[in-house]
C-alpha cells in the first residue's frame, strides 16, 4: 500500500479503537485513575484531525507523523510507548514508497521491540506487553513452520497472533501488577484485566482483522466491569 492507503488504514483503526475507549476507562477505574480510555480517545482524535495533511507522504513519513501527533496529544504512558513503536516501524520501511505483506514480519517485530525498549516491561507484569510479546512470538513461530511466505502463510500467522494475544489479555486478570499505576495496589490488582492489555488486544485485533479480512470469532474479551 502507498502512504495514502496506509493513512486510510490508520484512520479506520483509530475509529474502531476509539469505540473501545469507554470500556478502557472503566477498567482503568478499578486499577488506576480512570483515564486510559480518555487517552485513547484524545490520541486517536488528534491523529484523525491531521491525517489529511500528510497522507501524500511516504509510508514511513505517515507513521512518523502519526507517532508525533499521538505523542503530543496524549503523553501519559501509552503516548511514549506507541509513539516509539511507530517510529521503529517507520525506520524499517524508511525510503519505501510501498508497504506490502512481506514487510509485516519486520514491522511487527520492530514495533514490539520499540514498546519493550521504552517501557522496559517484561512478560507477567500485567501490562500491554502481556499481549504484544505473546502475539509476536506466536506470529513468528507460525511463520517458521511455513514453507512459503505467501498471503496464506501470513493470514495463518496473524490468526495465531490474535489467539495468543487473547490468551495474554485474559491471563492479566489473575496477575499482580508490578509496573505502572496498578502496581501500587499490590495484591488488590488481582481479579481485573489490565486496561493497557485490554486496549492493546483491541488494537491488535482491529489491525489484524483489517489486514487479513478475517473476523476472529471467539476472541471477544469480557472486561468484567
Amino acid at each position: 500500500m502507498t502512504g495514502s492507503e496506509l493513512a486510510d488504514l490508520i484512520a479506520f483503526v483509530c475509529q474502531q479503537w476509539q469505540e473501545t475507549s469507554d470500556t478502557c476507562s472503566l477498567l482503568d477505574n478499578e486499577l488506576g485513575d480512570g483515564d486510559h480510555g480518555i487517552s485513547i480517545h484524545t490520541g486517536t482524535q488528534a491523529i484523525l484531525a491531521r491525517l489529511e495533511t500528510y497522507k501524500d507522504g511516504l509510508p514511513s513519513e505517515v507513521l512518523k507523523a502519526v507517532s508525533r501527533d499521538f505523542l503530543s496529544a496524549v503523553g501519559a504512558s501509552i503516548g511514549p510507548l506507541y509513539a516509539t513503536g511507530l517510529l521503529r516501524m517507520a525506520a524499517v520501511i524508511a525510503n519505501q514508497e510501498w508497504v506490502d505483506s512481506r514487510d509485516v514480519p519486520a514491522l511487527f517485530s520492530a514495533f514490539v521491540q520499540g514498546l519493550s525498549d521504552r517501557g522496559k516491561a517484561h512478560l507477567g507484569e500485567k501490562t500491554m506487553m502481556d499481549v504484544w510479546l505473546p502475539a509476536l512470538a506466536a506470529f513468528q513461530d507460525a511463520l517458521k513452520e511455513m514453507v512459503l511466505l505467501d498471503e496464506e502463510a501470513l493470514q495463518k500467522a496473524c490468526q495465531h497472533a490474535v489467539r495468543a494475544g487473547n490468551e495474554g489479555v485474559q491471563a492479566t486478570k489473575e496477575m499482580v501488577a508490578t509496573k505502572g499505576r496498578a502496581s501500587r495496589l499490590g495484591i488488590r490488582s488481582k481479579g481485573f484485566i489490565d486496561p493497557g492489555a485490554y486496549s492493546a488486544f483491541q488494537l491488535l485485533r482491529i489491525v489484524m482483522a483489517k489486514c487479513t479480512g478475517l473476523s476472529f470469532p471467539g476472541t471477544v474479551v469480557d472486561p468484567g466491569v
Binding site: 476507562s25 477505574n29 478499578e30 486499577l31 488506576g32 485513575d33 480512570g34 483515564d35 480518555i38 487517552s39 484524545t42 505523542l71 503530543s72 496529544a73 496524549v74 503523553g75 501519559a76 504512558s77 503516548g79 511514549p80 510507548l81 521504552r118 517501557g119 509496573k179 505502572g180 499505576r181 502496581s183 501500587r184 495496589l185 499490590g186 488488590r188
Partner: protein, 329 residues
C-alpha cells in the same frame, strides 16, 4: 457531580487562559501546554517541573523566584508529552543547563526521558531527578519504586533555592536528590475525586470508610479501613512515615497537604496531633507548611510529609521564594 467549568474537553486550555489573564506579570506561555517565569534569569540552572493537570496548585503554581523556571502541563492526571517539557526548558535555558524534576510515575518517567533525549540532542545539558516519597507505595528496601506525592513540593523548594543562588547543574541535582531521600510521605482519603471528562468517582467508599496509602490520582491505595479520629490518623501516619527512616530524624520540616475538599480547619486539627506525636518522639519541627499543595480535584483527604533536615537542607528550605503555590520572605 457539579463542577464549575465550560466544557469537559477544554478544561486545561480554559484554565491556562485563566492563569495568563489573572497573572500576566508572573507567566509567559511558550507552548500550548508550557509556561515559564516572566522574570527569567540570564545566569542560572533552569529548573523545569511538570506533571498531570488536576492537581492545582501543582504544578504551574510552583513557577517563580526560588522555585521552578518553567512547567509542562499534561492532560488530567496524565504525564505531559515531551513537547511542552522541551518548550519550557528551551525557553528558560540560559547556558547553565536544565534540571528536570518529576514524580516517579511510568508516564512521567518515559516522557521526561524522551524530552531529555531531545534536549541533549539539541546541545542542552540536562540532569534529571525523579521524586519518590510515598512510603505506602513500596517498602524501604525498594524505595526507588516509590511514587512522588506532596514531597515533590519540598524537593522543588530545595532545588529552586540552589539554582537561584547560582549553583551548578550537578550541585542542584545533588541537592534535589538529597531532598528526595530526606522526604517521607503518606496519605489517606475519605471521599473520591471526579474526572471532568467522565464524571465518575475515582472510588466508592462506605459512609464511614477511609482509604489509606493512596496517591494523588484517585487510584485505590493500600487498604480500606474505618475513618479514624484526627489523633489516631495523625499517630498512624506520623509513625509510618518516621519509622521508615533508618534513624529517627532530629529536626524536620513537616508539610500537611489537603487533597482538595478537606478544610483548613481539619488540616490544622490534624497538624495539632501530628506535632504532639513528633514532640513525644523527640523530633523538633523547624518549619511547618499546611495547606493545599498538590490536590486531586475535590478529593477529601490529606497527606503528611516529613523532610529530615541538616544544615544544608535547612538553609535551602528557609530561602525566600515567590509563587502562587508557596511564598516566603
Amino acid at each position: 457531580m457539579k463542577k464549575l467549568l465550560q466544557n469537559p474537553d477544554s478544561v486545561i486550555e480554559d484554565m491556562l487562559e485563566g492563569v495568563i489573564r489573572a497573572y500576566p506579570g508572573r507567566y509567559r506561555q511558550v507552548g500550548v501546554r508550557a509556561l515559564v517565569r516572566r522574570d527569567l534569569s540570564r545566569d542560572k540552572v533552569a529548573v523545569i517541573i511538570g506533571g498531570g493537570s488536576g492537581h492545582e496548585p501543582a504544578f504551574l503554581g510552583y513557577v517563580g523566584h526560588g522555585l521552578a523556571d518553567g512547567v509542562a502541563l499534561g492532560n488530567m492526571f496524565a504525564s505531559p508529552s515531551p513537547d511542552p517539557i522541551v518548550e519550557a526548558a528551551t525557553a528558560s535555558h540560559s547556558g547553565r543547563g536544565v534540571l528536570l524534576l518529576y514524580g516517579n510515575y511510568a508516564g512521567d518517567v518515559m516522557n521526561f526521558e524522551m524530552a531529555s533525549e531531545f534536549l541533549q540532542a539539541a546541545g542542552i545539558k540536562t540532569a534529571s531527578v525523579v521524586i519518590g516519597d510515598d512510603v505506602a507505595s513500596a517498602p524501604s528496601e525498594e524505595s526507588e519504586r516509590r511514587r512522588g506525592i506532596a514531597g515533590e513540593i519540598l524537593v522543588y523548594k530545595i532545588a529552586g533555592a540552589a539554582a537561584e543562588r547560582g549553583d551548578s547543574l550537578s550541585e542542584c541535582a545533588r541537592l534535589a536528590d538529597k531532598a528526595v531521600h530526606a522526604c517521607r510521605s503518606m496519605g489517606a482519603a475519605w471521599s473520591p475525586c471526579y474526572l471532568p471528562q467522565t464524571g465518575r468517582p475515582s472510588f466508592e467508599l462506605g459512609a464511614t470508610e477511609m482509604e489509606l496509602g493512596l496517591g494523588v490520582h484517585g487510584e485505590p491505595g493500600l487498604e480500606r479501613m474505618e475513618m479514624l479520629k484526627a489523633d489516631r490518623l495523625a499517630d498512624l501516619l506520623t509513625e509510618r512515615v518516621v519509622r521508615d527512616y533508618a534513624e529517627i530524624p532530629m529536626k524536620v520540616c513537616v508539610l500537611v497537604n489537603g487533597l482538595g475538599s478537606t478544610s483548613m480547619m481539619e488540616l490544622l486539627i490534624f497538624y495539632r496531633f501530628v506535632h504532639q506525636r513528633l514532640e513525644s518522639l523527640g523530633i523538633q519541627v523547624h518549619k511547618a507548611h499546611i495547606g493545599e499543595f498538590i490536590t486531586s480535584q475535590e478529593m477529601g483527604g490529606c497527606s503528611l510529609t516529613v523532610m529530615a533536615l541538616d544544615e544544608e537542607l535547612s538553609e535551602m528550605l528557609d530561602a525566600p521564594c515567590n509563587s502562587l503555590g508557596m511564598s516566603q520572605v
